[in-house]
Symmetry: D2
């Protein structure tokens, strides 16, 4: 038998870094917590086929590099730090055979604690939710174009009305009745691609703007299907932030199933549901600026 | 060989219920999502030793009961609903041999979405964090005293200064240096016991009051040890809410370990840490009103 | 307001250690992977109330101690290592105010890989399942009695017949029909207490013996209820291993719910079920040697 | 602003089905537990852009279909069941605008319990590990080629010697020393593509053959890098099963980090390590038959 290596990639995952940036004059700290994954691709075949590591930068070094660059740099956004890492590896003189690098970064969303007068605390924070801010950089050594996408993961939203699902296809296995008024819950994952012209100044603003647009559209939309609201949310994000070219959204339909109270001699006035984690509908769509 | 059943308990766990309560006049919905666990104790031995189910209320019926009572009742708080469930089972005529019941309830903390004018949306919500509001009822059939405790779980807090740990015991295996200024992060679990005189009206207020007191004390405290801050948080909760008799707090010390940059030729100005999940210190204390 | 510290405990959790023991003569390695938690109790109040750490052994030192004792000791069982750790802390000269220590240990169950001739590989292992072997030591400084319990967690078992549940209590909320033949699945957690006379030589044998007895009883039992099988499994463990005084077993009833195929025009011959994780029945019992 | 839907997909995830197949003559049961995900693609735009569901088969119906087909069919392998589901949806007369379907299936690996005489129990099973058997079918309505891949996920392997990592690239951020003898632990995910000529009869045999080949190669290999062993495992799988055209393997390097005992006055004879979950190296490669 004869075989060959047709693809390869390697790197370090779950490199978790905490960076505190102190503004001594203002007596205020900024806090960043990132979970970074790095993957290199290129002509690393000899390591696979012959155990020759002479071209292999250890993944332990990749880890060290994350901490080193965090120390040497003032961090302004996840995107800026991910681009910095990508630049470092793609320009690395000792691994010219690395043809591309991918950086995936997930950022916690710590929020400042407020005191009784609603003032922000300068250095104490509370976790703002399960949601994570994400970004990805893909950069090739010989390709000038850097692909930068950003987004949000696990944004939990629920609404208790203004959601219907009726007049769908029915086949021999369909038992679902029309629902004129149902609960709609989801954990939104959205990933958008920035236009090449987008600059550092845009990323934090754009993140908050796109996030707000999606949340408010979810709340206000008269939903006729998860797909319907997903599309409206994507359109709203594009409308809110001009630096976004395209947005991909995945929305699980986290069903709240009305509990059948009739066998118990009771009526369910569309008030009592089973909260479920599985199975779930999974709806995806990509909306592109025309 | 001879053996006997010395203890027994049974029930249903992870009964998840969603309840929507609509105020038609105000056009406003309240949303409750509870995860309920029920455990009965009593003279159920025949089921274990002989497979005789004639005294066993099925756990499936316990599940149904959660949905039935949610439908029949206006919910005002987790505590009120847990007490209602405990009352139901402890007074159940067909299982007089059930001597006690325990209800554990965990409530999601959905927050209302705000519109651009900062007004609360009447029926759309966003998840407010990983934290859960909890309560436990323990009720005996022949004991008039109902034990009611409430609390919070997974309240994530972090501060980037005002935390030290110095002058501790050193033995042959100690390598930890004194830390004058370290990051302090935790996922607080607090459980408090209400005084017998506490009434329905107290529970929601007291929860928010105790939670705020703990969060603000965490932020403001000059911490000399996790223990030190834990005690101050407990004291603050007791001071803030008179209906609480006693509070038990567990605080993992979620270490942020300064990364040693010296081998990389760099200096760590107490800015760059490894974010860790394990191992973690685990500190507990119970503070009681004197 | 006046308050005081009524209870306290502190320690380190999730200390994960890998120990390789090489038998050079036989060319064979033993592998232990333990997850250790340590908790001390005693007169540590000054740390809580005044931030005075002069009596506090750092949890970082506890972590170091696990690795130090793992290096200094030949490990023969989880129980032996947990007892060694408890002895160390309860006899620690610099913390005489520590009145008791608790060690919780969870061990992975790596199994040797077999070659084509079914011979055991001397140093390569495959994970044997989700199940963990557990033990707990509780030791007081002034109490001669050491409490040692051991057990198993997450032992996944399923049988597709010989399980019924009929003739139970029915009330207004009962909808469950009698089941003459149902699937029975569980993730068994069993914890047994060793008699004081039990010695090192017993622990490994007794673990395997008790585990086998429970598994084979689960398989062979004509189950009339989860409780019924739980009791039989406990009895079997006591019968199989004389060093066990008492066994506590918790068995979730991981329901396989027959799917109602009638609306689809099909019949379910007790063959097709929904695999569920929640809700689940949770059945517990303690069986004691008489 | 103008936008359009450039991609879409929808379906149901986490459809969990348990199927018991009874051989009455032999008094023996087979047990299948599958977790199925279904995704359709096609001209579903009107649902997104206008809330028009007239072309949408509900995801609830997809769920029902899994149970219906499980009831109507004798299951022989995950692959056979996934192909059956794909065929159903891609040939569905009421959704001719669905251009392709993807089925992802994950199967639990229950093993028969053995009695004391080492005989297999006919209907009682124990979980064989964390590992899952997986398969994926991608089928287009107008494309005759069905893409079928299969594999394994979370296959936990560890070896305590015969693993080195030396002579790698060193840069300014490298601190890792050469390791002549280290522990090598991984949770292997392998996915292979079957040749078009592979038939039903091959899938179960090939799964076991490829799995065994990878496990035994892991055990026997003199590893000079994770990459090196990964390639050898892929080659071995291709050699062992002729129906496999190509195999993609991802191996996290689950580091066991030698604990530095020198500050404790002890020596680490390469015996005591910290068991870590993060960060981890992540190594991937695709090996193709030439």
């Amino acid at each position: 038998m004869s075989a060959h290596l047709s693809e390869n990639a390697y790197g370090k995952s779950r490199v978790r870094v905490t960076k505190v940036q102190r503004d001594a004059a203002a007596g205020r700290h900024d806090l960043f917590e990132f979970d970074v994954a790095i993957q290199l691709r290129g002509a690393f075949d000899e390591c696979y086929t012959a155990g020759d590591n002479s071209g292999v930068l250890p993944t332990d070094t990749m880890r060290n590099t994350v901490y080193a660059l965090a120390a040497k740099t003032g961090i302004t956004s996840p995107e800026q730090f991910a681009l910095l890492l990508a630049d470092h590896f793609v320009a690395h003189e000792q691994i010219p055979h690395a043809t591309s690098v991918r950086i995936d970064l997930r950022a916690d969303r710590w929020k400042r604690i407020h005191d009784e007068a609603r003032r922000e605390h300068p250095w104490a924070f509370i976790n703002g939710g399960r949601e994570l801010r994400t970004c990805t950089v893909e950069q090739g050594r010989d390709r000038p174009r850097v692909l930068l996408s950003a987004g949000i993961d696990d944004l939990l939203l629920i609404k208790t009305t203004d959601s219907a699902f009726v007049d769908f296809v029915r086949d021999e296995y369909t038992t679902l009745p029309d629902a004129q008024d149902r609960i709609f819950a989801s954990a939104v994952r959205a990933t958008w691609r920035y236009a090449e012209s987008a600059a550092d100044s845009d990323w934090n603003d754009c993140f908050e703007t796109a996030r707000d647009a999606m949340i408010r559209t979810f709340a206000a939309h008269k939903s006729l299907a998860v797909q319907h609201t997903l599309y409206a949310m994507g359109e709203a994000a594009l409308a809110a932030c001009g630096a976004i070219d395209e947005i991909e959204i995945w929305m699980p339909n986290q069903h709240r199933v009305p509990f059948d109270l009739r066998p118990l001699g009771l009526e369910n006035r569309n008030e009592v549901c089973v909260t479920t984690s599985e199975p779930f509908g999974l709806i995806g769509g990509t909306i592109r600026r025309t």
